[in-house]
């Protein structure tokens, strides 16, 4: 057979290709598939969180803030456990960022709170002296786009099998269910329920009033998103 292969360079090339591809398939694909599976404790984004993620993207937060903790002692001391591939399973697109003008936000939900974010987004220098981060006051009045968030949820649920309305395993052994509405109206109701929880911890009376009226300011969605980063 080898003599035959030596005389037929095309089939020889095909043979070489097959052997090398096979090695690639069994070496690379399984570990890649394993690593990109959601880790335990990673749940899909709820409607409000996803709307907040859109606010995050719209305001280019990722230009100054990364979402990727590298495995170095200095970073894990400051930001928490290093990032795992599976933690980005529901990020479309991922927001790793490439530059840290501000700190990493991969796990900001672990060590900052709703009221802190509220103070900080309104006037960063009031809580972090010398901060160069601009204030984002318009987020307190502009309304979050819940419809688009719902549309994205519906898309990823249908085309990428993101497990909405299904139990998702959490770190403490329990399961969580992230709700996905059946209609735009229901999605808005679900988002408003989440928004009420966030607004309860906030101080801004205009925001509280808006949520009480059934409106969701961008800041509420953004804080819901930031709190979900754990």
């Amino acid at each position: 057979m080898f003599h035959w292969l030596e005389k037929h360079p095309f089939f020889f090339a095909v043979g070489v290709f097959l052997v090398i591809s096979f090695a690639g398939l069994i070496e690379i694909l399984p570990s890649f598939a394993q690593a990109s599976r959601p880790v335990i404790g990673t749940a899909p984004y709820s409607t409000l969180e996803l709307a907040g993620r859109h606010v995050y993207i719209k305001n280019s937060c990722n230009a100054c803030h990364s979402q990727l903790v590298r495995p170095f002692k200095s970073e894990t001391d400051r930001y928490g456990h290093y990032s795992l591939s599976g933690e980005y399973a529901y990020d479309r697109p991922f927001l790793w960022g490439s530059k840290r003008t501000g700190p990493d936000l991969m796990r900001v939900g672990n060590y900052r709170t709703t009221d802190w974010h509220e103070n900080h987004m309104k006037d960063p220098a009031s809580v972090v002296p010398g901060s160069i981060m601009p204030a984002y006051r318009w987020m307190f009045t502009k309304k979050a786009d819940i419809d688009t968030a719902f549309a994205e949820q519906l898309t990823v649920a249908n085309y990428f099998s993101v497990p909405y309305n299904q139990p998702v395993p959490m770190k403490d052994g329990s399961t969580a269910v992230v709700k996905l509405g059946n209609s735009v109206a229901e999605a808005n109701t679900i988002a408003l329920e989440e928004a009420k929880v966030i607004a309860a911890d906030m101080k801004d009376q205009d925001v509280k009033d808006a949520v009480a009226r059934g409106e969701i300011p961008e800041i509420v969605a953004l804080i819901a998103y930031l709190n979900s980063l754990k």
Partner: protein
């Protein structure tokens, strides 16, 4: 004599003359420098050996005729002899296979580089060093450590001066502020994490022994100001009547019954850092990233500044 040898000798002589000229003409030249002499000797040897080796093989190509058994294939008339593998090659080939087996089973799996592995080693080394260096740290040094930790971790909410930045977080320069006392009096408090056996009741369970009735709004305001003021001023009688049976006459608390509300204790700070808390101002997250020694240090610092 063969023309080839003649050409070779002429070429060698030419090269030697050129070498002599270029070295002799250069700075340093052909003096007693041993390194120069060695280099020139080497150059001369190389020239001679090269020329005669080339001549040998050219001669061989001119006069040799091929013999031996051909393999079956030929490629457009070009054939190949059946030769046995040279011994050196064969040995190297076998050794490579042995090395390959070692690398496959032991070499790679045991010695492979892993970023996470390096990280884990770093952490182990760091933790051991920390443990060794700060095992017996006490007193002022513990407070200093607490201060640097405070400035790294806590100042973002509590402010550089620990004043809570205009009510954005608790003012740690004093044990408790009036709004917090009032909040706890009205809502009660579950002190289980602090090792207390029963929770503090909300206002529907708080009796003022002086009046024999439930605590009133006015009394809550007065006693809140009293506690916030460092257990002084107006309200001592209400405190004695409603609070002191659990918190003690001086507010320093009792073990398993009620916490110290007159001053911070390291145990309280450690508990809050471990579990976080939700109070009248808002939510404080837990700080799992601090180790026990560091929590103790933050406790020492806060106890120190709030004196």
């Amino acid at each position: 004599m063969n023309k080839l040898y003649l050409g070779g000798i002429i070429f060698t002589a030419l090269m030697l003359i050129l070498t002599y000229l270029s070295v002799g003409g250069s700075k340093g030249g052909l003096n007693d420098d041993i390194v120069n002499m060695l280099a020139i000797t080497g150059a001369v040897a190389l020239v001679i050996i090269t020329v005669f080796v080339v001549i040998k093989y050219v001669r061989q190509m001119q006069i040799d005729s091929a013999t031996g058994e051909l393999v079956d294939e030929n490629w457009d008339g070009i054939g190949e002899y059946k030769n046995s593998v040279p011994t050196g090659w064969a040995v190297m080939f076998l050794l490579t296979m042995v090395w390959g087996m070692w690398y496959w089973t032991i070499g790679y799996p045991v010695n492979a580089y892993s970023q996470i592995g390096e990280y884990n080693e770093d952490v182990t080394v760091h933790n051991a060093k920390f443990e060794a260096q700060y095992k017996d740290i006490t007193g002022d040094r513990l407070v200093e450590m607490g201060e640097s930790l405070f400035l790294a971790e806590c100042k973002v909410c509590h402010g550089i001066n620990a004043d809570g930045i205009d009510g954005k977080a608790a003012n740690l320069n004093k044990r408790i502020d009036a709004a917090s006392v009032k909040h706890v009096l009205e809502k009660g408090s579950n002190n289980k994490l602090m090792g207390m056996e029963t929770p503090m009741p909300d206002r529907s369970g708080l009796f003022n022994a002086n009046t024999g009735a439930l605590i009133t709004d006015a009394e809550i305001d007065t006693v809140s100001a009293y506690v916030a003021n460092g257990m002084s001023g107006e309200g001592a009688d209400i405190f004695a009547g409603a609070c002191s049976m659990c918190h003690g006459a001086d507010g320093k608390g009792m073990e398993f019954v009620a916490p110290n509300i007159a001053a911070y204790t390291p145990a309280l700070v450690s508990t809050v850092l471990t579990h976080g808390k939700k109070g009248s101002i808002g939510v404080m997250p837990k700080f799992e990233r601090l180790n026990d020694k560091q929590k103790e240090a933050v406790g020492a610092y806060i106890t120190n500044i709030s004196k």
